[in-house]
């Protein structure tokens, strides 16, 4: 009897947010999908479908921005894994009280608009900025040309998506039982062996969720390349925006968006299907 009640209540409770997402998330996505197979520069989906937009993507070299978006997102994700691991380990196993301080400090940055934080990096790194300006006035000369290149865009992605890697990773590592590590050490495993044979596989759900989040969000990012990169490379989200706004070509913009959505969506869905959400979010057994 309890189970039947659960079923009905589950459906009812899911209704409000499902309705919200149906009308303002799934429906717009369907519209974008329809627009992507419309002829060039039309503003209605009631035209004869064709695949001209995808032809334009190939012939006009739009795959270059796709390449940049994906490779910078990949680089940022790999760097994030390396940078966040020790800290996540510390938060999960070592720090104690300091974990809370760190968590609050990192979460607070999330609440500051990302363009303000990126603009802060521009002020810090630009010629006549915080670093160059003070170094020039004290040492006579400072580093120049730190902005407007590809590595600084990747740095911006690492900076902005840091929390999205750190917290899932810390959650994943906290799921590694201390007994298992202790047992491995007692049996003579080296530190490296403990890391490879115990930590990595047992923390895998956290690693997966963190990497997926960082990669997916970074692949669709735009502000980093605009503000820090000064358009040294054009990213895909940028091309999508231009096609929709200045270009007034909704079908092309939609097709570009679809390419990104399908690539990123496949990665996300395949990745998420390997994770047991109930466990990683802390269900009591």
């Amino acid at each position: 009897m309890m189970e039947r009640l659960d079923r009905r209540q589950g459906l009812l409770a899911a209704l409000p947010i499902t309705a919200l997402l149906a009308v303002s998330f799934l429906a717009p996505l369907l519209l974008v999908a329809l627009f992507s197979i419309m002829p060039q520069k039309v503003f209605s989906v009631l035209n004869m479908p064709d695949f001209s937009s995808f032809g334009v993507i190939v012939s006009q070299g739009y795959y270059r921005s796709l390449f940049w978006s994906l490779s910078m997102a990949f680089a940022a994700t790999v760097i994030l894994l390396v940078v966040c691991w020790p800290l996540a380990y510390g938060m999960a196993k070592v720090f104690g009280r300091f974990s809370l301080v760190l968590t609050i400090a990192v979460v607070m940055t999330l609440f500051v608009s990302e363009n303000i934080r990126l603009f802060g990096w521009v002020l810090t790194l630009m010629k006549g900025g915080l670093i160059e300006g003070y170094m020039r006035s004290y040492l006579g000369a400072g580093p120049d040309g730190m902005l407007y290149n590809v590595p600084i865009i990747v740095f911006g992605l690492v900076y902005v998506y840091f929390p999205f890697m750190l917290f899932p990773l810390a959650q994943g590592i906290s799921m590694v039982p201390d007994d298992a590590r202790q047992a491995a050490t007692d049996l003579g495993a080296t530190r490296w062996q403990v890391f490879r044979e115990i930590d990595l596989p047992l923390a895998a759900p956290g690693i997966l969720v963190g990497s997926l989040l960082s990669f997916v969000l970074a692949a669709g990012a735009m502000a980093e390349s605009k503000l820090l990169g000064g358009q040294v490379v054009i990213v895909l989200a940028d091309d999508v925006e231009t096609a929709f706004t200045f270009g007034q070509n909704w079908p092309l913009g939609s097709a570009l968006a679809m390419v990104l959505i399908i690539l990123v969506g496949t990665v996300a869905v395949v990745g998420l299907s390997r994770v047991d959400l109930d466990t990683i979010m802390g269900r009591k057994r």
Binding site: A14, S44, F95, V112, W121, L212, V216, A237, D278
Partner: protein
């Protein structure tokens, strides 16, 4: 297995360096906001608070604050309500489509926000709605309501279904259980979700960019000025926006502390 002393110290130092780097850009913005010069250049020669005076006296700025605030307040209220029920369906009730529902909730979070904003723009255009700040509320909700759901779901995972069953055995109606048992138990999660919702909406830029129409939020205005035509008000407004967030956090923590104190008595 306890980490050795040197490992602890090394990790601690690393953590402090990371915190410093996370806040370094805000320090730069802070310094820039109190520089007197119209065209900023470090090292700063003379300090002045005149840009703050100018910002607070400007009607444009007040309008930007108002728009951002209106959007954030409505997004918060809706996210808390929708997220409460969503979290029960996500974590608590065992129903047939739960795995599918969980994926639906995660999808908007795992989605490039710029693309989402543009998709909503052509959607509103197609169904004949002129974008204003109200459409931005909808755009924010697509991303923030699922996050609120997850935050409350974490709390819902931790509570014991036996409490609800006990209430039912004692003859409480479904609605009474929801109001007297479930809601109070999830309250801390609902409040954190509300805090998250407000702050994420307040600072959001990629979703607002395409969905506010002629209205403009604070982060949008800042971005426009950063990309073209620098204004000395940019760092000032940036800091004011950050201060707005931190005041809300401080208020939330004070309230929590007061409530806790009262419960302890």
């Amino acid at each position: 297995m306890r980490a050795s002393r040197s490992t602890r110290v090394a990790l601690l130092v690393y953590g402090i360096v990371v915190i410093f780097l996370l806040y370094l850009p805000l320090i730069s913005v802070g310094f820039a906001s109190i520089s007197k010069a119209r065209y900023l250049s470090f090292p700063i020669r003379t300090y002045a608070t005149k840009w703050y005076g100018e910002a607070l006296a400007s009607s444009t700025v007040i309008e930007l604050f108002n728009t951002s605030l209106k959007i954030a307040v409505i997004v918060t209220a809706v996210s808390m309500i929708v997220g409460f029920f969503g979290a029960l369906a996500f974590a608590r009730y065992q129903w047939r489509y739960r795995p599918l529902f969980q994926k639906l909730i995660l999808l908007p979070i795992f989605f490039p926000q710029t693309v989402l904003g543009l998709a909503l723009l052509i959607w509103f255009n197609t169904i004949g709605i002129v974008p204003t700040w109200k459409t931005a509320v909808v755009a924010h909700l697509v991303w923030i309501a699922p996050i609120a759901t997850l935050v409350i779901a974490i709390r819902a995972y931790g509570f014991d279904p036996a409490l609800e069953e006990a209430a039912r055995d004692l003859g409480a109606s479904t609605f009474a259980i929801l109001r007297e048992v479930t809601l109070p138990l999830l309250m801390p999660g609902i409040i954190s979700a509300g805090l998250f919702a407000f702050l994420l909406s307040w600072g959001n830029f990629p979703l607002s960019l395409f969905t506010t129409g002629a209205d403009s939020t604070l982060p949008e205005w800042l971005y426009a000025k950063m990309v073209s035509g620098y204004s000395p008000l940019v760092p000032t407004l940036g800091i004011l926006s950050v201060l707005g967030s931190f005041v809300i956090i401080a208020v939330a923590f004070t309230l929590r502390w007061m409530v806790k104190g009262r419960q302890a008595e």
